[in-house]
Amino acid sequence: MNNGKRTVTNVVFAGLGGLGVLKASDIFADCAVFDGYDVKKSEIHGMSQRGGSVTSDVRFGDEVWSPMVPLGEADFLVAFDETQVDHNRPVLREGGLIITPERLVGIYGPMNELNEQTLPLTTRNFNVAILGMLSLHVPFAQDNWEKAIRANVPEGTYDQNLSVFHLGRRFGTE
């Protein structure tokens, strides 16, 4: 159909209500816009606000049509909670990559046990750390990440969010 050439990159963000899934996908989508791509993003609001499963699809490329990632065509499944990996697995294409907070949890402990007084990582910026891990696998310019984070986090928390983003990048490579 595209002569075998892939022109659209598909990312599915999955987590639970309250984990910042939608905020992270907003930052990611903005960053793709700043990088000059056509971008579409799809999410379901409503009952998911009450702690249920939340997913958000972001697609970027030369020309994106549907806002929903077709089944079996996701390049990345970004899970904000380990429990959301298994049932979402069918969205991935063959060879697609799953990004989970496992490494961060291994080092800092589960999100609900984070000590906000002593750690750079908090329950509120955990999502940005995961974006840091994802950033190693997509072609966006560093400047655009910074711009996108700045556009989406409360004033005054930007520096902290940026340092957590780099924390994610560091643990994503090690």
Partner: protein
């Protein structure tokens, strides 16, 4: 980089278009996926208000448009059911200014009780209807809808769906600007007072207007053809279009932007220009039925694809006549009542007292799920009271006394009031109990204000109506306001031992409210206090 384009959801794009089109007033009732439209419009400086329900919201919009203003009225698909009465008749009367009614449909029911296809309402009422497929079209088509409404003196339905409302895509704004509306009242009694003698000619005028609109739509720029291989032709509209373009990039596609009244000649020509002609539409076979009735032979989709949303995978299957079982992504963790939510204790109490609970629509509907399983019915907004009364009328005394109607504060004002009137007017012999769960907000849809909160849409101070005052004034003698836990349990037990009509208001603020809703403000107060 494309600095002239912004990544916007369909709802944000519509709100921006409403600002650019000089909408005089936005009215509506919150309902997913439509709620953000008026909030965004208001944030951008537009004048918007939440009404107690969709019927009133539409009536307010009709008044704005009768006065020569430009009205935007928003609701979700089932809201049009509530507003159906004025909806059908405003199609007869037409308007002086502009009236655009947004129906945000929810195929797949991401947060609704049914997946009705409101294109049926277009056909049934004779309401011109426009459907966008992404944020850019939402912006462009809304401007066109306002123009059309004003030029043709006709209300227009703007039908969106969840994926159009809540998906984000890039939007470029128009350069042109709208002249401000010119409000002014022109008396037109035969045109606007729909007594039968006036309504009969009004119906003929409406059909005449629709015939002209249909002729106009034959060449309208709202409908477009993507030239492609004539081997496969696809007729589609709304969100289905983007799935089609991805699933069948080589096909020739007729995309209908205005789906009522339909441009049959144009469609006929298209169908004749291709070898195979398939209609791809989400939900009901609305287009298929209309085309076949007009002698245009088209292929439809297998019945299995009537349910739920379409997507690229499903469109590929329809085109390949593939009806093998589909892979379904399981829903994952279901929603549940928040930690510390006052409804949790309430449902435990209702369970402990073995109540038969006639429920309603709101967060508290989650009381039907485990671990509570404490809600026995839920159909539509306000139905808790009427259904509870029917149960009371019918069940033997020992069961009848266990029936409790449970309704939230916002829903109470939306359509519980008439239920209370029914209860007072026609009380069952064993009386009845209505429990109003007043958490001080419309929590379900994201903490919107309503007549009981004492704040208007923009969170400024407003006259507050207390449910206790209303039901007392309506003639309920036993009215109690309680906190939760023991107090609620005692009040319920006492009421269940009597054959009287009782209203219990359980007042406990929503746990999320502190975070999301600012304290009431007065005119002139600073925003960033």
């Amino acid at each position: 980089m494309q600095p002239d384009r912004k990544l916007l959801s369909g709802n944000e794009a519509l709100a921006t278009a409403a600002l650019h089109a000089g909408i005089t007033m936005g009215s509506g009732y919150p309902g997913t996926p439509s709620s953000e439209i008026l909030e965004e419009f208001n944030k951008g400086g537009g004048f918007a208000r939440w009404s107690p329900n969709e019927k009133v919201a539409l009536e307010v919009g009709i008044g704005v448009a009768f006065a020569g203003g430009r009205a935007l009225v928003t609701m979700k698909h089932v809201g049009v059911n509530v507003a159906a009465d004025p909806y059908f008749s405003v199609a007869y009367t037409g308007v002086d200014g502009a009236l655009v009614i947004v129906s945000a449909d929810d195929p797949g029911m991401s947060s609704s009780q049914n997946e009705q296809d409101n294109r049926r309402f277009a056909l049934a009422a004779g309401m011109p209807t426009i459907e966008p497929s992404n944020s850019q079209e939402t912006y462009d088509f809304f401007l066109e809808a306002v123009r059309l409404s004003e030029e043709w003196h006709s209300p227009v339905m703007f039908r969106m769906t969840t994926r159009v409302c809540h998906s984000k895509s890039l939007v470029k704004f128009a350069d042109e600007s709208f002249a401000p509306p010119k409000p002014g009242f022109t008396r037109n009694i035969p045109g606007r007072v729909m007594i039968p003698a006036h309504a009969r000619p009004a119906h003929r005028r409406m059909r005449d207007r629709l015939a002209k609109l249909q002729a106009w739509n034959e060449t309208s720029a709202l409908n477009t053809v993507h030239e492609g291989d004539a081997a496969l032709g696809i007729i589609t509209s709304g969100i289905s279009y983007v799935h089609v373009r991805e699933a069948a990039p080589d096909a020739r596609v007729l995309k209908l932007g205005m789906t009522y009244p339909l441009p049959f000649e144009r469609i006929r020509q298209f169908a004749q220009s291709v070898k195979r002609c398939v209609v791809i539409e989400e939900g009901d076979p609305y287009l298929v039925e209309q085309l076949r009735m007009n002698g245009i032979a088209v292929e439809d989709k297998p019945e299995a694809f009537r349910f739920g949303e379409l997507n690229v995978n499903r469109v590929r299957r329809i085109l390949a006549n593939d009806t093998s079982p589909e892979t379904v992504i399981k829903g994952g963790k279901p929603p549940e009542l928040c930690a510390g939510c006052p409804h949790r204790m309430t449902f435990l109490t209702l369970n402990r007292l073995n109540c038969i609970v006639s429920g309603d629509i709101g967060c508290y509907t989650l009381g039907a799920l485990p671990p509570f399983e404490a809600m026995d019915s839920q159909l539509c907004m306000g139905a808790s009271i009427g259904i509870g009364l029917g149960l009371r009328h019918t069940l033997p005394q020992n069961e009848a006394r266990r029936v409790v109607s449970v309704i939230g504060d916002s829903t109470f004002f939306h359509s519980g009031l008439t239920g209370i009137a029914e209860m007072v007017y026609n009380p069952p012999k064993n009386g009845h109990i209505v429990l109003i769960l007043d958490n001080g907000t419309t929590a379900m849809t994201g903490m919107q204000e309503h007549p009981g909160t004492g704040r208007s849409l923009d969170h400024m101070a407003a006259q507050q109506i207390l449910p206790e005052d209303v039901v007392r004034a309506m003639g309920v003698a036993n009215v109690k306001t309680v906190g939760y836990g023991r107090e609620l349990e005692d009040a319920l037990s006492e009421a269940m031992a009597q054959d009287a009509v009782t209203v219990i208001v359980m007042r406990q603020p929503c746990r999320l409210m502190k975070v999301k809703t600012p304290a009431p403000k007065c005119e002139g107060e600073n925003d960033d206090e």
